[in-house]
C-alpha cells in the first residue's frame, strides 16, 4: 500500500466514483514471489478497473513478466492475493484460464501450420466445435488483417506477421482480460506500429488489456493508465499526464553549440530550478522547474550575461523517461545502470 503514489490514489478516487458495480478486472495485493534470493515480486499491489488499457512499465527484471505469469496462472505467488474479474486466481486457476488471453514475449505459434490452422487449433482447445472454431478463426484473421496470409505456413511469415498471429491466437477465446507481455519487443518500427494499431482496435472493441513494456513511448501510445514497477513493487501509477506531472511541472532545456560549455550552462540552470542534467552527446542541459515561464525568462537573461553560444532554449513538459528517472533513480531501458546501483 505504501508504494502507491499520490497520483495513483487520486485516480482511484475518481474511478471509484464510477457507478459500475462490476468487480475490478484485476486485483493484486501483497504479491510476493521469490526465485532463490531474488524477490521478483515484492509485495505488489495493483487494482485494474474495467474499460482501460493499463501498461506495466519497468526495466528488465522489474517483475513485469513474473506478474503476468502469475495472472496467467503459469506460476503461483509465494504470498499475497490475486483476483481476476472477481475469481481467485490462486484457488481457482482453471476458471481464470477461461477468461484470459495471453500473448507472451515469443510468438507462440506453430511454424509448420498455417495461420488459420493455428487459430482453429486454439478455438478447438477453447471447446468450440469444428465449424464454430473455423468461424472464430476467420473472424480473428480478419480483425488482425491476416486474411491474405491465412493459408500460408507460418514458417514463411515475417516476425511482425507472427506476432500479429500470436496476438490473434490470444483473442480466439474472446478473453475478458488480455495479457500482452512485451508484445513488440524485437520488432522493426513498421511492424511495431501495425501491432499498436491492432491493439488499439481491440481496445476500441472493448477488450481490457494489461500490457507490459520497457518502452515509454509504447506505454504513452497505448495505455490510459501506466503503472511503473521496479524491484517487484509499484513505484507510481496514473495517467500519462499525471505521471508526467510527477517529474516536475516543466523542463527548461538548453541546446548549446559547444559541449564544453555545458558545465557553465548547467551552473546557470541550477540557479533557476532543480539539479540540472547534461548530455554531451546531444549537447543538451536541462532541469525541472516550477513556474516555468518566469524561470525561463530568468534563465535566458542569465545565459545572455554569460555569453555562451546557444542553439536553442525551450520550455517543455517532462517526458515519461524523465519521470521514470525521477521515480526510480535509473533509466527505463538501462539495465547496466540498474545493476551498478544495486551493488
Amino acid at each position: 500500500m505504501t508504494s502507491h503514489s499520490p497520483a495513483a490514489s487520486g485516480r482511484r478516487t475518481t474511478t471509484e466514483a464510477d457507478p459500475t458495480t462490476a468487480p475490478p478486472v484485476l486485483r493484486a495485493s501483497g504479491l510476493v514471489k521469490h526465485y532463490g534470493n531474488t524477490r521478483a515480486l515484492d509485495g505488489l499491489n495493483l487494482v485494474l478497473r474495467p474499460g482501460r488499457v493499463v501498461a506495466l512499465l519497468g526495466p528488465n527484471g522489474a517483475g513485469k513478466t513474473t506478474f503476468v505469469r502469475a495472472v496467467a496462472t503459469l506460476l503461483r505467488p509465494d504470498a499475497g492475493a490475486l483476483e481476476v474479474a472477481g475469481v481467485d486466481a490462486l484457488r481457482r486457476p482453471a476458471q481464470v484460464r477461461q477468461i484470459i488471453g495471453l500473448a507472451g514475449q515469443f510468438a507462440a505459434v506453430e511454424p509448420a501450420m498455417t495461420g488459420r490452422e493455428n487459430l482453429v487449433m486454439v478455438g478447438r482447445l477453447f471447446g468450440l466445435k469444428g465449424s464454430r472454431a473455423k468461424a472464430a478463426a476467420a473472424s480473428v484473421l480478419q480483425r488482425m488483417g491476416l486474411t491474405e496470409d491465412a493459408d500460408r505456413l507460418v514458417r514463411g511469415y515475417s516476425g511482425g506477421l507472427r506476432r500479429r498471429l500470436d496476438l490473434g491466437a490470444s483473442l480466439v477465446g474472446t478473453p475478458r482480460l488480455l495479457l500482452l507481455d512485451e508484445p513488440t519487443t524485437g520488432l522493426d518500427p513498421g511492424s511495431r506500429i501495425r501491432l499498436w494499431d491492432a491493439i488499439r482496435q481491440l481496445v476500441a472493441d472493448g477488450t481490457d488489456v494489461l500490457l507490459t513494456t520497457q518502452y515509454l513511448d509504447e506505454a504513452d501510445q497505448l495505455a490510459a493508465d501506466i503503472v511503473i514497477i521496479d524491484h517487484g513493487r509499484v513505484v507510481a501509477a496514473g495517467t500519462p499526464a499525471e505521471l508526467k506531472a510527477l517529474g516536475g511541472d516543466d523542463v527548461i532545456e538548453v541546446h548549446v553549440r559547444d559541449p564544453l560549455a555545458l558545465g557553465e550552462v548547467a551552473a546557470v540552470l541550477a540557479t533557476v530550478g532543480g539539479e540540472p542534467r547534461t548530455d554531451p552527446a546531444t549537447r543538451r542541459a536541462w532541469t525541472a522547474v516550477s513556474d516555468g515561464t518566469r524561470r525561463l525568462m530568468e534563465a535566458m537573461r542569465a545565459l545572455d550575461r554569460t555569453g555562451v553560444p546557444i542553439d536553442d532554449i525551450a520550455l517543455r513538459h517532462p517526458t515519461l523517461d524523465e519521470v521514470f528517472l525521477t521515480l526510480t533513480g535509473h533509466r527505463a531501458d538501462d539495465a547496466s545502470v540498474r545493476k551498478e546501483q544495486q551493488s
Binding site: 462490476a22 484460464r97 484470459i100 488471453g101 487449433m121 471447446g127
Partner: protein, 279 residues
C-alpha cells in the same frame, strides 16, 4: 422506459462460463499439431529413413561378418529384431528436442494458459510421438526384410513382437518428454537424449551379451533394452532363436513389460509434475 430499465439492471458480474475442451479432444488437437509438424518437414522423414538404412546396412554387411550370433543362426536374423526394437530410441529421441523447443518458444505456456486439462497437452504429445515411432517401426521392418531377414514364426507372433515394440516406444517417449521438459534448451535435450543410445549399445541388440567382457555383462542384462530386444527376437525368430536364449519367451515378455510399466510410471509422473509446476 424499457431502455432505461435495461440500462439500470445490474450488468452480469461474471461472463458465461466457457468450458474449454475436455481431455481427449484437447489431446487430439495437440497430437495433430505434432504429427502435422512431422509430416510437413520432409527433410526429417527422409533423413531418419536414410540414417536407419545406413545403420542397418553397416551392421548387416560390414560388422555382421565378424559377429557370431550363436549356433547356426545367421546374423541377419539376429540383427533385424534388435535393430527394429532399438529404433524406438533412435527415432523417439527427437521428441526430447521437440518438447524443449515447445518450452523455449512459449507454445507450452500458451497451452498452459488455456482452459484445458494440462495433462492433455502431454498426453497428446506422447501419443503423437508414439505414432511417429510406429511409422519408424514400419520403415525399419521393411528395411529389415529388404536386407534378407525372414520371420521364422507365425504371423500372430510377428504382430505380437511389433505390438511390443509400439508399447516400448510409448514408454520411452515419456523418458524423452521428461528430458525435453527438464533440460531447458533443445540443444541440451538433444545431448541428453543421445546419451540414451548407450542403452542400445550395451544391450543384446547388435551383439550377444555373452560376447561382452564379464564386468559389462550384468549391466547389459539388467537394463530394459535387453529383455525388450530378447522378447521381440524370440517372438519373431521362432524355435531356433528361442533355443539360443537361456529363458523361455514368456520370461522376456514379462520382464520387458515390467520395465515398460515402471518407465511409464516414473517418467510420465515426472513429466506431469514438471509440466504442471507453477513457478
Amino acid at each position: 422506459m424499457t431502455a432505461l430499465t435495461n440500462s439500470a439492471a445490474p450488468a452480469p458480474t461474471v461472463d458465461p462460463p466457457r468450458v474449454g475442451a475436455r481431455f481427449w479432444p484437447s489431446s487430439a488437437q495437440v497430437a495433430q499439431r505434432t504429427v502435422r509438424k512431422f509430416v510437413r518437414t520432409p527433410q526429417l522423414i527422409v533423413l531418419a529413413t536414410v540414417q536407419s538404412a545406413v545403420f542397418l546396412v553397416v551392421f548387416r554387411y560390414i560388422f555382421g561378418g565378424a559377429i557370431n550370433a550363436g549356433r547356426g543362426l545367421g546374423y541377419v536374423d539376429f540383427l533385424v529384431p534388435g535393430f527394429v526394437t532399438t529404433l524406438i530410441l533412435f527415432n523417439g529421441m527427437s521428441a526430447a528436442a521437440g518438447v524443449a523447443e515447445d518450452v523455449e518458444n512459449g507454445l507450452f505456456d500458451r497451452l498452459r494458459s488455456l482452459p484445458i486439462p494440462r495433462a492433455a497437452v502431454l498426453a497428446g504429445r506422447g501419443l503423437a510421438d508414439t505414432a511417429l515411432v510406429v511409422w519408424g517401426l514400419f520403415v525399419g521392418s521393411a528395411l529389415g526384410f529388404a536386407v534378407g531377414f525372414r520371420m521364422h514364426a507365425s504371423i500372430g507372433h510377428g504382430l505380437a513382437a511389433f505390438g511390443l515394440c509400439v508399447l516400448y516406444g510409448f514408454a520411452f517417449e515419456w523418458v524423452f518428454i521428461a528430458i525435453g521438459l527438464l533440460s531447458g534448451t533443445a540443444q541440451a535435450a538433444q545431448g541428453m537424449s543421445v546419451m540414451m543410445t548407450l542403452f542400445v549399445f550395451v544391450s543384446s541388440a547388435y551383439v550377444p551379451v555373452a560376447s561382452m567382457p564379464g564386468w559389462l555383462r550384468p549391466v547389459a542384462e539388467h537394463q530394459p533394452v535387453t529383455p525388450m530386444v530378447d522378447a521381440v527376437r524370440a517372438l519373431a525368430g521362432g524355435p531356433r532363436v528361442q533355443a539360443l536364449l537361456p529363458h523361455p519367451t514368456t520370461y522376456y515378455v514379462w520382464v520387458s513389460l515390467v520395465w515398460t510399466a515402471g518407465i511409464i510410471a516414473v517418467f510420465a509422473s515426472l513429466a506431469a509434475a514438471r509440466f504442471s509446476r507453477r513457478r
